[in-house]
Symmetry: C2
Subunit: 262 residues, 2 copies
């Protein structure tokens, strides 16, 4: 019996999303993986040696017979990268939360595969839990991409561009802005104390799954405790940025609490 | 053999901190618990029926022979509540991150027992992981309170008022402000989508234990991606508060990334 040829997946780019997709697909062992980058990059070597992908510099020689082409480049380069892909039946995919489907061109086989997750290279990703948001030009393409996504995640959904962008914006609030607050906390106390804040942070997150965050709010702003807020602002007197953030976040909390059903 | 009398612990107040301390000490089964509130409150009944504390309304009849008096009232009432405690050897304790020790009066037996945690009544608290910050008027008192704290937590430390206040401020950033961002995210998307953000939030927290948060930062502000930030701000055009927060947090992230060793 002849061994069935593995489906080919092309990944364009060698950043964090490219890395984690390549790692994921190589763990599934159902695909042959090709990684391209438009210019030489030390990271490409990791794909070859650690994940056993075929790698190549330059987008001119991208194979034409792959099933899926994941374009994992910066938002502003998605459109120009897609032009290099000459395929008959392969599906062009971008993974961005904030880019329209039609940046992939006017072809029929285009789709969005947006993993609602944050990717640092050294992370382990729980793909089964990670929501994957799909959008596709037509039903056939949507079905193919959805079948692939369901091999990966238990939470696959469809969404319009506008809803995806909205979700991406919310993700910026809970991920990037939250992380910026952690950086600020680390600037207020030392590293050892930042570690001491971890159980508190974990508890805040645990609540989030069970209690509406408005109801879970605690602290001086929620209580309208002016005396404590004054002490905090005095501590921040040397840091105009954090002082501004403190005032604005406190005033946001007060509004959120007054406007409980907004 | 005569049964040894249990040490008595008095708790003043019936809010979330009072509740979780009473629940904790009643689980240790080493103490007899008395809960007082200055005015009638429906919550007092829960202490009596669910935690088997003795409860009483009014601070005039507080027993004088307890070992520890936990004053778990609002910051501004700590001082006035402490005046009602007439004890010879008992230790007066407050649990606030932002109140000086001497608000407990000029007696020798005063201490701070600050659990670095967020308390909602329906929560389960992991006390073993929760840091407890101690400050005390003298060594004997410090030893007694530390012995008690070590029955509860694996992370007991001493700190001056100024460092405690600084830690409390950092806690406001990572807990209250982070939670306010979750409320905002819930206002941007719907409740179902807020649930979809949970794996992302969990990943952000998981990173925090392993990677310096400056290095873990991702997103449009970190990349300087003006096009995406413009799209996000357009989505927020109907919400002046969130637009302001978006701009300020993004500018904070840009500064944090430029100033990597601050």
């Amino acid at each position: 019996m002849q061994k069935q040829a593995k489906h080919k997946i092309v990944i364009i780019g060698c950043g964090n999303v490219a890395w984690h997709l390549a790692k994921l697909f190589s763990s599934l062992k159902k695909h042959e993986l090709f990684v391209y980058n438009h210019k030489p990059n030390d990271l490409l070597n990791d794909f070859k040696t650690k994940l056993k992908c075929k790698t190549q510099v330059g987008l001119d020689k991208i194979i034409t017979n792959a099933e899926f082409y994941f374009i994992c480049v910066s938002d502003r380069s998605i459109s120009s990268a897609s032009i290099h892909i000459k395929t008959k039946n392969g599906i062009l995919i971008h993974t961005s939360g904030s880019v329209k489907l039609d940046e992939l061109g006017s072809g029929d086989n285009t789709a969005v595969f947006y993993p609602l997750q944050t990717f640092s290279k050294q992370d382990e990703i729980n793909w089964q839990e990670t929501p994957i948001i799909i959008e596709a030009k037509n039903t056939t393409t949507k079905t193919k991409v959805t079948v692939l996504a369901k091999q990966v995640s238990n939470n696959v959904g469809n969404m319009t561009y506008k809803d995806r962008l909205r979700l991406h914006l919310a993700a910026v609030f809970v991920n990037n802005f939250t992380n910026a607050l952690f950086v600020s906390a680390g600037d207020i106390v030392n590293d050892k104390q930042l570690k001491n804040l971890l159980p508190l942070i974990k508890q805040t997150i645990t609540k989030l799954g069970r209690i509406d965050p408005r109801a879970a709010q605690t602290g001086p702003a929620k209580r309208g405790d002016e005396a404590v807020m004054k002490k905090h602002l005095k501590l921040l007197s040397g840091n105009a940025d954090l002082k501004k953030i403190y005032k604005q976040m406190s005033s946001l909390i007060i509004k959120q609490q007054n406007n409980k059903h907004a």
